[in-house]
């Protein structure tokens, strides 16, 4: 498997990505999914979540960084902008697979940002019936009935607690976006007594034994599901790639997620 290394830095107006090969041919970076953990301050805590490259022959490969910032490249099933959003989608799909999905269960998705839209697509693709709501108590929240599965994507304090209240006993709550690492929770009241399963879903896949093959088999189907889903372009930043010197633009939404597309 080919591998590359890439790192990102950001100022208020410009993002810069430096990428180099470790093994395999020299490739052009074509698209990248980027996340700012503190959306209010674009100069801090920015990370690459998914990147798509184009080899000289036109083949697309994609990957996500490990803890050392190294990307193992996989064959891309779709266009670069689709491949670059695959890592969070794949992470959620694997979480669903590990937890088990009962066909037709009701999944309530909390949030209205990029992650929420992605979660809707992935949940539908694996067989859930999906309801999305942006606010606690919203009309779409299905307040009269508890969902079998609740997917919390906002990481806003108290939303995780609210998400557990919207889940039926013995149900599952998935936390995307780092909610579990940012808020305290009374696990006795919200998880233990109701036999819930609360799952932390990282924003990029962490594979368990035997899952490599699942990634190979499942990504084409996943790309179909998430095609067209991208962060909203509320803010536009210039992007510069090093050392090749190519440029592009990054569209960023308020939640801190952004999609970078390289021109040409």
């Amino acid at each position: 498997m080919w591998s590359r290394i890439a790192e990102i830095t950001s100022t208020r107006d410009v993002v810069r990505i430096r990428h180099e090969w470790i093994s395999g041919p020299e490739c052009r970076l074509r698209a990248a999914l980027v996340r700012w953990e503190e959306p209010e301050d674009p100069t801090r805590r920015v990370a690459l979540v998914g990147v798509a490259w184009e080899a000289p022959g036109g083949a697309i490969s994609w990957g996500w960084p490990d803890v050392a910032g190294r990307f193992e490249l996989r064959t891309g099933p779709d266009r670069p902008e689709v491949c670059s959003v695959l890592p969070p989608a794949l992470s959620l799909a694997l979480a669903f697979r590990r937890g088990g999905v009962e066909l037709g269960e009701r999944a309530l998705i909390l949030g209205d940002g990029f992650l929420a839209r992605l979660a809707c697509a992935v949940a539908s693709a694996v067989g859930y019936r999906v309801v999305q709501t942006s606010e606690p108590g919203g009309q779409d929240a299905g307040d009269s009935m508890r969902a079998d599965v609740v997917i919390e994507t906002t990481a806003v304090p108290n939303r995780l607690e609210w998400a557990t209240t919207r889940c039926r006993d013995w149900g599952r709550v998935y936390s995307l976006g780092g909610g579990l690492t940012s808020v305290p929770l009374n696990y006795y009241a919200h998880v233990h007594r109701r036999a819930l399963t609360l799952t932390q879903v990282p924003d990029r896949p962490v594979l368990c034994a035997g899952e490599e093959e699942i990634v190979t088999r499942g990504t084409a189907r996943l790309a179909d599901a998430v095609r067209g889903i991208r962060p909203e372009g509320v803010e536009i930043l210039d992007a510069q790639m090093f050392p090749d010197g190519s440029s592009g633009r990054l569209e960023r939404e308020r939640s801190g997620w952004g999609l970078l597309l390289v021109e040409g």
């Binding site: 803890v67 780092g178 305290p184 929770l185 990282p202 962490v206």
Partner: protein
């Protein structure tokens, strides 16, 4: 309800029900927890078994140390109402079966969900026959075995998994042994604070399954650090509090599942995959114990005489020494106490009448009703609402437990509006704002800049009172501060100086002053109904669970500030008795002259006192005796008496007085009731009075100089205790009798 009355009532009800249902009545004994820290063995009467029930005579009942300690000490996340009978796992013999019960016959050995009672009626589906070669004590632990089994089942443990069990208690050991039977590669067991082993390689330190049996909310962070990708953390023990966010780093980037496995969430009627009924799980436990595959606990097992239950629970409450497997041994009781069919003699003579209560009753021969109440509110208040005509803007700083009560008072008063909810814990501030309104902030600056904020209500730990007050008065805001005014007199004096310089109102929330009985008492003293005051006696003995020191009474805000003198200023004297000291000075108008104090810490964590005794010589010669504690199991002992040449006032229950003179509230030489009120109304009236003072319509309801007087007395008490000698109390610049309100 007093115990005597309750027993008689239960006696009557049991016989009425028995007659109506044509069933017998059985008498036995049970362990009863009447209040946090107060357990006793007492008689109980129960009906013979109804449809689906089995009457069981207990042999051994197992102690579940974590749960029972949590309930006894009322740790967070425990929900019981007193009195209750602890225990949920025992073995016994069937005495009688109800209609429709086929699996059991009298004489059968059964085990199941039986509380700590010598004889109990149990639903048949909560029992299981005991296999012949299973010992009594092993069988008594059946419910704990079921809890362990369903936790391991919920984990979905598979062959080859690496398993860690957090918690070395009885249930932790049992769980690790059950887990070992499911084919894991390794099972390790770790106690509190033992995260990944130091000698573990990184791979060995990660586990696919982590079973949290510790009951410690902080253990989840350890569990997350030990988790391999895709690991499952199963909550088997009930955690006693709020868990902090999972650690960033390894755990933050890791897919993990946290599964709740509370015992009550098992299947009820029929087992399902992953969810077995109690009977099926219990059957498995019996089989494995019978086959010798499962040894549920290590020997020796502690056998407790049920008559010594109180002693055992005290030890359990302290957690010293660590309690391992223990059972109540009901065979140690004499047969006639343990279980027998009833007599029709009511249990009046079971307990002797409390001589202290008799004495108190004798002192109040006839209580005449007195309907008058005093209104001490500002004279210029609004005629309908008794409040000022403009609504005051208030910012709450500190959104913990007491803030909720004060916010209720602001809402009740109807003269003020909450504009800000400020707390360093954003969750608390949001929760507060959700209930009472206002904007949320983590610092005071925005509120001080807000022109709609007239006053700051400080409800923070005591060491923050002075700095926050000085910030607020410098910004021209009036200040209400929850009692005590500060940690000590110098801090209080600085606050007063600051308020004076800024020309704003500073008032301490001593709501007891606005209780109708206190206002009436002050009126009686003022009109001479008591005569020259000779003495006063104040006692306030309560029991603070260990959880109080780390989360207050409600557990709303977790912090250890109460346990440290540096942050709290003191223990029961400063935190509790300050109310009574303020009320005493308020009612009598006397000044303290000399004081002797003894204090110590017996049960409270940290370095603050939990028992104090004071003797105070007042100007004019009166002698005041005060004692208070927060370490009296059962609590509830309260006395507040003031007496003089012509009468006596008692502000404990029921508030009453006797005067030899003609007076406005009762007949001479007869005990009469005083009007009485509740804390909620008192806080409301205090807020109204404060609002009136801010708007210039009335005097400051609690001038800070009077709070300083209380603080000086308390400071002197602490010094006296340190020096083990009586001390003169220094004269403050402004003493209560010379009060110059600060505006």
């Amino acid at each position: 309800m007093p115990l005597q009355k309750r027993l008689i009532l239960e006696w009557g009800i049991a016989r009425l029900r028995a007659a109506a249902k044509r069933r017998g009545v059985w008498r036995g004994v049970r362990v009863v927890c009447h209040a946090s820290g107060w357990v006793r063995l007492e008689p109980v009467e129960i009906l013979g078994p109804g449809p689906g029930d089995v009457l069981v005579r207990s042999r051994f009942s197992a102690v579940s140390p974590g749960t029972e300690r949590a309930l006894y000490s009322r740790l967070p996340n425990t929900h019981v109402s007193h009195p209750y009978t602890p225990g949920y796992s025992a073995i016994g013999t069937v005495i009688e079966v109800g209609p429709g019960v086929t699996p059991f016959r009298p004489g059968d050995r059964v085990a199941g969900q039986i509380p700590h009672m010598s004889v109990a009626n149990v639903r048949a589906d909560r029992l299981i026959p005991v296999t012949t070669n299973v010992g009594d004590i092993e069988a008594a632990f059946v419910t704990l075995g079921v809890i362990a089994l369903q936790g391991v089942r919920k984990a979905g443990l598979r062959f080859g998994d690496r398993v860690a069990v957090l918690g070395r208690g009885v249930l932790g050991i049992l769980t690790s042994r059950v887990a070992s039977l499911a084919g894991p590669a390794t099972v390790s067991i770790r106690g509190r604070g033992e995260g990944p082993g130091k000698s573990d390689t990184p791979a060995e330190a990660l586990h696919e399954i982590i079973l949290d049996v510790s009951g410690n909310p902080d253990a989840l962070a350890d569990a997350a650090r030990m988790a391999a990708p895709g690991a499952r953390i199963v909550l088997i023990g009930s955690s006693r509090g709020v868990s902090p966010p999972l650690p960033q780093g390894n755990a933050g980037a890791m897919p993990i599942e946290i599964r709740g496995a509370h015992a009550q969430m098992r299947a009820d009627k029929e087992s399902l995959p992953g969810r077995w009924t109690f009977r099926d799980e219990a059957g498995l436990y019996m089989d494995w114990v019978s086959e010798g595959r499962l040894v549920p606990f290590d020997l020796p097992v502690e056998r407790i005489d049920p008559r010594e239950a109180w002693r055992f629970y005290r030890r359990l409450g302290r957690g010293e020494p660590p309690v391992r497997a223990a059972v109540f041994d009901w065979d140690r009781l004499p047969d006639d106490l343990r279980s027998r069919t009833t007599t029709f003699r009511p249990p009046v003579s079971v307990f002797r009448t409390d001589p202290q209560r008799e004495r108190q009753t004798a002192r109040i021969p006839r209580l005449a009703r007195s309907g008058r109440q005093r209104n001490a509110r500002g004279a210029t208040m609004h005629p309908k609402t008794n409040g000022p005509s403009r609504r005051l803007g208030i910012a709450f700083v500190g959104c913990g437990e007491i803030a909720l009560r004060n916010a209720q008072a602001v809402a009740d008063a109807g003269v003020a509006e909450i504009r800000w909810a400020i707390d360093t814990s954003e969750d608390l501030a949001r929760d507060f704002a959700g209930r009472w309104g206002g904007r949320v902030a983590s610092g005071i600056a925005s509120a001080l800049d807000d022109p709609q904020v007239d006053s700051i209500f400080i409800c923070t730990p005591h060491h923050l009172h002075a700095p926050l007050c000085l910030q607020a008065v410098a910004a021209g805001k009036h200040v209400l501060v929850e009692k005590p005014i500060a940690r000590d007199a110098p801090e209080a004096a600085t606050m007063i100086e600051g308020a004076r310089a800024a020309g704003v109102v500073l008032s301490t929330c001593y709501p007891m002053r606005y209780l109708p009985e206190v206002l009436a008492a002050k009126g009686l003293v003022r009109e001479g109904a008591v005569g020259r005051i000779h003495g006063a006696k104040i006692a306030e003995h309560i029991y603070r669970e260990i959880s109080y020191w780390f989360g207050g009474s409600s557990g709303r805000s977790r912090s250890s500030w109460r346990t440290r003198r540096e942050t709290s200023g003191g223990g029961v004297l400063l935190m509790n008795l300050c109310h009574h000291l303020d009320a005493l000075l308020f009612i009598t108008g006397l000044r303290p002259d000399r004081i002797y104090c003894e204090s110590d810490r017996f049960a409270a964590p940290g370095d603050v006192e939990d028992l104090v005794a004071l003797t105070i010589r007042m100007t004019g010669g009166a002698i005041v005796s005060m004692d208070a504690s927060t370490c009296a199991p059962g609590g509830g002992h309260r006395v507040f008496e003031i007496w003089g040449a012509d009468g006596q006032i008692a502000l404990d229950e029921p508030p009453r007085f006797l005067s030899l003179r003609r007076n406005a509230l009762g007949s001479p030489n007869e005990w009469s009731h005083l009007p009485r009120g509740a804390e909620r109304g008192a806080r409301r009236d205090f807020v109204r009075a404060f609002a009136a003072a801010v708007l210039g319509a009335a005097a400051n309801p609690v001038p800070p100089e009077e709070s300083l007087a209380v603080q000086l007395l308390i400071d002197a008490a602490y010094r006296s205790a340190e020096r083990q000698a009586p001390l003169s109390i220094p004269t403050a610049p402004e003493w209560p009798a010379d009060v110059v309100p600060n505006r």
